[in-house]
């Protein structure tokens, strides 16, 4: 197995692959790695930090040259990073940072900034007043926290009210159901911010069923479905994290590190607001 030692191996630990965003991230990583002639070992942490640690441990016994870590959670990632540090494996984090340990570089677009972008968009379109419903992601997940915080902090600067805030688990079915239920008690709604596109698409469906086509729906992630919806005008906007680009950037960074170049500790990848 170790015969082809001239092609270097990169270990990529991804937080989950049950979500199109991370599937795209993986795609970006794999495609660019192929171009640059690296092998990639992808390990899925299934959104469980303990599994992430196990994955990191497993990488230490495989002869990988570097680890690209997409943490489940920034705090718990410290444990994983330290394992790599102890085995002298250089680590680059992607999408979520690690709050400790030695990380060579971090490549991401900031979730909180994205949340704020969505807020700014809505503030502008609503003229600074109105009622907003916020659909939150899985309670306790870092994406839900960061996107929510960025959004809420920004909105607080305006006269817009967040009149309902409920979790729909990042899930389209839940987005639909929860929105349907909210609509039973709240009818004066100007906009919906969903912390990911799946929920946004579900909510959009609920609104469409009620004939409430004027409500602005803003999602997050810019998945294909969501971008289509924005093009058709059924969704107002989605915050594009450009996962493929993030993945590519990360591999570029790794390539440089392996070639001995010095790179920045933080490489931001631009966020984009996709509107019609």
């Amino acid at each position: 197995q170790q015969a082809d030692s001239d092609t270097k191996k990169i270990g990529f630990i991804v937080s989950t692959l049950n979500n199109p965003f991370f599937v795209d991230l993986k795609k970006g990583v794999e495609d660019r790695a192929k171009e640059l002639g690296y092998d990639v070992v992808v390990l899925d942490s299934q959104n469980d930090p303990a599994k992430e640690v196990s994955n990191m441990e497993d990488l230490t016994v495989k002869n990988v040259s570097m680890v690209l870590l997409n943490p489940v959670d920034s705090d718990s990632a410290v444990a994983s990073v330290m394992i790599a540090n102890n085995s002298d494996l250089p680590v680059v984090t992607v999408d979520r940072a690690a709050n400790g340990g030695n990380v060579v570089s971090h490549i991401a677009s900031d979730n909180a900034v994205g949340g704020a972008m969505a807020a700014e968009f809505l503030m502008e379109r609503l003229g600074g007043v109105g009622n907003i419903v916020e659909l939150e992601g899985t309670a306790g997940s870092s994406a839900a926290r960061d996107r929510g915080k960025g959004f809420d902090d920004k909105i607080a600067e305006s006269n817009i009210n967040i009149i309902a805030k409920q979790s729909a688990d990042f899930d389209r079915t839940q987005g639909l159901t929860v929105m349907e239920n909210i609509l039973q008690s709240k009818s004066d709604i100007n906009a919906v911010f969903a912390q990911n596109d799946e929920m946004a698409l579900g909510a959009q469906k609920a609104l469409e069923d009620q004939g409430m086509k004027d409500v602005l729906v803003v999602g997050f992630d810019a998945t294909d479905d969501a971008v289509d919806a924005v093009k058709r005008g059924t969704m107002a906007a989605t915050v594009a994290q450009q996962p493929i680009l993030i993945g590519q950037t990360a591999v570029d960074a790794i390539d440089k590190i392996l070639k001995g170049e010095v790179i920045d500790a933080f490489i931001p990848v631009e966020l984009k607001l996709i509107t019609k």
């Binding site: 692959l17 049950n18 979500n19 199109p20 599937v23 939150e136 309670a139 309902a164 805030k165 409920q166 979790s167 899930d171 389209r172 079915t173 639909l176 159901t177 929860v178 349907e180 239920n181 909210i182 039973q184 008690s185 799946e198 698409l201 579900g202 469906k205 069923d209 998945t223 294909d224 479905d225 289509d228 058709r232």
Partner: protein
């Protein structure tokens, strides 16, 4: 002889009383819940919201109907969520590839039936414990769905085909949401099967005493295969409803649905040990769960507390029902 008739009469009476009480209790729980919520927020009882609840409940209720068969035999089916996921994906991908609605729906149902059949086959012929066998198929199917969809949702788009397929989950018939209609038909058929046909009675028989059922010359393997197949088919029905409702199939659709379905069955008074229970209870159980989720949203309960309240209400409901053991 008057001795035994005395005894039996009194027993009979107490039995009927008991049965009424059992039904009454689940129902009581439901009515109580509805009463409390509608006082807290009157819009809860609007026609529109009631239709909402029916539509939302239908998916879990349809799965739970199949689960009732399985649990009545003393088994359990953890794979229903994954079956929902894979059959939704199959249905959507066929539609995307331009097949007509009937073909796609039938294919999805066949997938569910096939997986259910495999479950039943492995459990009966392989003599496996249903919990672990269906846990394994659940895991395998989850992976299979991810491979099949490549982790991405399969979206139907908005062409005419998609629109006509969308009626299954989103349309209405005589003003009643189509999924609710499907749910009612499913329950009526299940009721008929359980109470009027041989297979229905054998389902109870198997759960009551497997050895005795076997000694009576019945093919218990066949009964097992049958109930898991039913459960698989109804899980696909639920998968079709969801896919139609969302115009898309999600790669992770159905995760965790098994627990909701089991909870509905148990809330409806069916014993996990098998043999005892009613399909009418299951629909009440599903409604309790559906009303609860809807109510928590309507009442603006913060999501952290929603989980707690849901657990608490389930506990309360079964405690209310416990005397019937």
């Amino acid at each position: 002889m008057d001795i035994s008739s005395r005894v039996d009469n009194s027993k009979n009476k107490s039995l009927n009383m008991k049965e009424v009480l059992v039904k009454y209790k689940s129902l009581l729980g439901l009515v109580l819940l509805i009463a409390v919520v509608s006082v807290l927020n009157p819009s809860f009882l609007s026609v529109k919201n009631i239709m909402n609840i029916l539509r939302q409940t239908s998916v879990n209720a349809v799965i739970a109907a199949g689960m009732t068969f399985v649990i009545l035999t003393g088994g359990i089916d953890l794979s229903v969520g994954s079956i929902l996921g894979i059959s939704g994906a199959v249905c959507a991908s066929l539609l995307v590839s331009g097949q007509n609605v009937v073909v796609a729906v039938i294919a999805a149902l066949l997938v569910g039936a096939a997986v259910g059949f495999i479950n039943g086959f492995v459990i009966s012929k392989g003599k496996l414990q249903p919990f672990i066998a269906t846990l394994a198929t659940m895991t395998i199917l989850k992976g299979l769905t991810l491979v099949y969809t490549n982790g991405n949702p399969i979206t139907l788009g908005s062409n005419e085909l998609a629109m006509s397929f969308g009626k299954i989950g989103g349309g209405t018939i005589f003003g009643i949401p189509t999924p609710a209609m499907i749910m009612m038909i499913v329950f009526m058929v299940c009721y008929y099967i359980l109470h009027n046909t041989k297979m229905g009675r054998y389902t109870y028989a198997l759960g009551s005493n497997e050895e005795a059922t076997k000694l009576s010359g019945l093919n218990t393997d066949k009964i097992k295969i049958w109930v898991y197949t039913i459960s698989g088919i109804l899980a696909s029905v639920a998968g079709i409803i969801i896919t139609s409702r969302l115009y898309s199939a999600q790669p992770t659709a159905g995760a965790g649905y098994e627990l909701d379905a089991i909870a509905a069955v148990v809330l409806g008074g069916t014993k996990l040990a098998g043999g005892k229970g009613k399909i009418t209870g299951t629909i009440i159980g599903a409604l309790i769960i559906g009303v609860l989720s809807n109510a928590l949203n309507i009442l603006d309960v913060s999501s952290y507390y929603q989980t707690m309240v849901k657990g608490g209400v389930i506990l309360l409901a079964v405690l209310l029902d416990r005397k019937s053991n």
